[in-house]
């Protein structure tokens, strides 16, 4: 009973965690599901099969939509990451007028409801006469727009955490400003830029509301799922969902493992032994004294 009380919060926390995983477990499970018939509209477990995994593109329009999403994702990520990184540098390292307004302008897309952003873009395209040309281009424009803010925030926080003492040290060591940037600043900001790019891609890939309003006849993966949600749902969408999950978990866990491995090197047993032996020998002559450090 006492054990329960003292661990209550942890148990509750784990329960919440389980809650977040149940739908995912179902996605994975359903990727192995066999629908009773081609036309079945009921979304329910039927029987086990590897079929969905073996024939992921059974519905060619799904794979087409998937391809579209990846294309747009990559392009939007590239553009948003470049533009956003430049802006982050400006925010952290440079002086300019109108800082407050800029902060608000960058913040708003993160807080504005997607329906408003999507519909306003649609209104713009209609008003400027592009109503008949909705498609790949307009989707791309929209995606870059809403990814920008997230890139700026991510890179900015990484950059702000970088002490400029390191850059001063580089200049003290004969590096010109150009060399300082490429050899010290950029490598240290890069993890932030990478994270921003990954975030950007997943936002773009998964977007529905804004995309749907501005897509015209082009179809992305989320639009495809929406389309089939009222009809027969091919289980292959769960295959895609599972694959996405696996890829992202691998990336994130991989990064985690790498940093843990580096932490472990700090506690290298060989190091520890050497240090303690030498510390004991600390009181000797100055030549020997250096070994104690």
């Amino acid at each position: 009973m006492r054990w329960l009380r003292s661990h209550l919060v942890l148990i509750l926390g784990l329960l919440v965690l389980v809650y977040t995983f149940i739908p995912i477990a179902i996605v994975v499970m359903m990727s192995f599901n066999q629908l009773p018939s081609e036309q079945s509209k009921i979304y329910k477990w039927n029987s086990f099969t590897f079929n969905n995994w073996l024939h992921p593109c059974a519905d060619p329009s799904m794979c087409q939509a998937l391809g579209r999403s990846v294309e747009i994702g990559l392009l939007a990520t590239f553009a948003a990451t470049v533009l956003g990184t430049l802006a982050a540098f400006a925010l952290v390292r440079h002086q300019f007028v109108g800082r407050s307004s800029t902060n608000v302008l960058i913040f708003l897309p993160m807080a504005a409801p997607e329906i408003v952003m999507g519909s306003s873009l649609l209104a713009l395209f209609v008003a400027t006469g592009f109503a008949g040309q909705l498609g790949f281009g307009t989707i791309l424009i929209a995606h870059i727009m809403f990814c920008l803010s997230f890139v700026v925030v991510t890179v900015r926080s990484r950059l702000a955490g970088l002490s400029d003492t390191l850059e001063q040290a580089a200049m003290d060591l004969y590096a010109t400003p150009n060399q300082t940037f490429w050899r010290v600043t950029f490598p240290l900001v890069f993890p932030g830029i990478l994270g921003a790019a990954l975030l950007s891609f997943s936002l773009s890939f998964d977007d529905f509301i804004i995309t749907n309003l501005n897509a015209g006849t082009t179809t992305t993966f989320p639009m495809y799922v929406w389309g089939v949600s009222r009809k027969t749902i091919p289980m292959q969408i769960n295959v895609v969902g599972t694959v996405m999950l696996i890829i992202s978990v691998v990336i994130v866990v991989g990064g985690e493992v790498r940093s843990r491995r580096r932490m472990r090197a700090l506690a290298d047993p060989h190091e520890v032994r050497a240090d303690s032996v030498v510390a004991a020998a600390g009181a000797r002559s100055s030549a020997g004294a250096l070994d104690a450090v």
């Binding site: 965690l17 739908p23 996605v27 329906i115 519909s119």
Partner: protein, 286 residues
């Protein structure tokens, strides 16, 4: 010794320009178009100019006709946000203080599910809450739900979907805030005779408020404007403002009304954000 001294000169503007330009062109100006479409003659355009006719009737009509949806969206959004706050706080607290060396792993586990497609995982809820599913059966067994009770296609399902999908938006800011709290403060409060409950309300909760506020904002705002959860998990009685705007745009092609509703929604949000900014300043936004 030195804090970052920002460099002066034109280069700051040059770096900032592309991103800002993009946002102005594709965020601010569209919003103007939205307002214009809702207020002015909808036959106009940015090229030919709008006939400046203040069609306030678009707004009054929209509110008159759709206020149930507006209120409903606010209600569902509020309930979902509240549930997210409870669940999210427990989770954030557990990860921050009770997870020891598993902290980073647990954080990953919190975020991981949300890398699956939003739509695909919302579909899973269809299965979970299905009439012949485990959940409904159990609840019927416990007589919490009547023999003919449904969970799917009810407001309950919509709110459940909203809560589930926006949970990370609450957990992450909350975690960031709670993690910063020095646990020794809580220990100090215990040393000064506060039991855990009192300690929570007097120490932990006040210190975590910034995270609570930003988590609440980041959850409530998208929740109110969402329509996917409602479309997939609700019924015709649960239509939210998002659905309405969506269908007005794509089905009824009633751009003025749709725009008016969008503007109303945006104004409500801006009011919230302004209220927040007045208290906390703009640097904390990002």
């Amino acid at each position: 010794m030195s804090e970052t001294v920002r460099k002066k000169g034109a280069i700051g503007y040059i770096l900032l320009a592309p991103a800002l330009l993009w946002l102005v062109l594709f965020f601010l100006i569209p919003f103007y178009s939205l307002v214009a479409t809702s207020l002015f003659n909808a036959d106009g355009s940015d090229f030919r100019g709008y006939t400046v006719v203040y069609e306030w009737s678009n707004y009054t009509n929209a509110i008159k006709e759709y206020y149930p949806q507006i209120l409903r969206s606010l209600k569902y959004g509020a309930i979902a946000t509240f549930l997210c706050l409870i669940l999210g706080y427990i989770l954030a607290y557990a990860i921050a203080f009770k997870s020891g060396r598993w902290k980073n792993l647990m954080l990953v586990l919190v975020i991981a599910p949300f890398f699956t497609s939003f739509l695909v995982r919302t579909l899973s809820w269809k299965l979970i809450l299905a009439d012949d599913g485990v959940v409904v059966n159990t609840l019927q067994f416990l007589h919490i739900l009547g023999a003919n009770g449904h969970l799917l296609y009810t407001p309950f399902a919509v709110v459940m979907g909203l809560t589930y999908n926006f949970l990370p938006f609450m957990v992450l800011p909350l975690f960031a805030s709670i993690d910063k709290i020095d646990y020794r403060l809580i220990e100090a409060s215990n040393d000064l005779y506060a039991n855990p409950v009192v300690g929570f309300f007097k120490v932990t909760w006040p210190l975590s408020l910034p995270g609570v506020v930003s988590g609440t904002l980041l959850t409530f705002i998208p929740a109110v404007g969402d329509y996917i959860n409602d479309q997939l998990l609700g019924n015709t009685q649960t239509r939210m403002i998002g659905n309405t705007i969506q269908s007005l745009f794509t089905e009824a092609n009633d751009y003025p009304a749709a725009s008016a509703l969008s503007v109303i929604l945006m104004l409500m949000i801006v009011a919230l954000v302004v209220g927040y900014v007045k208290r906390a300043g703009t640097e904390d936004l990002l």
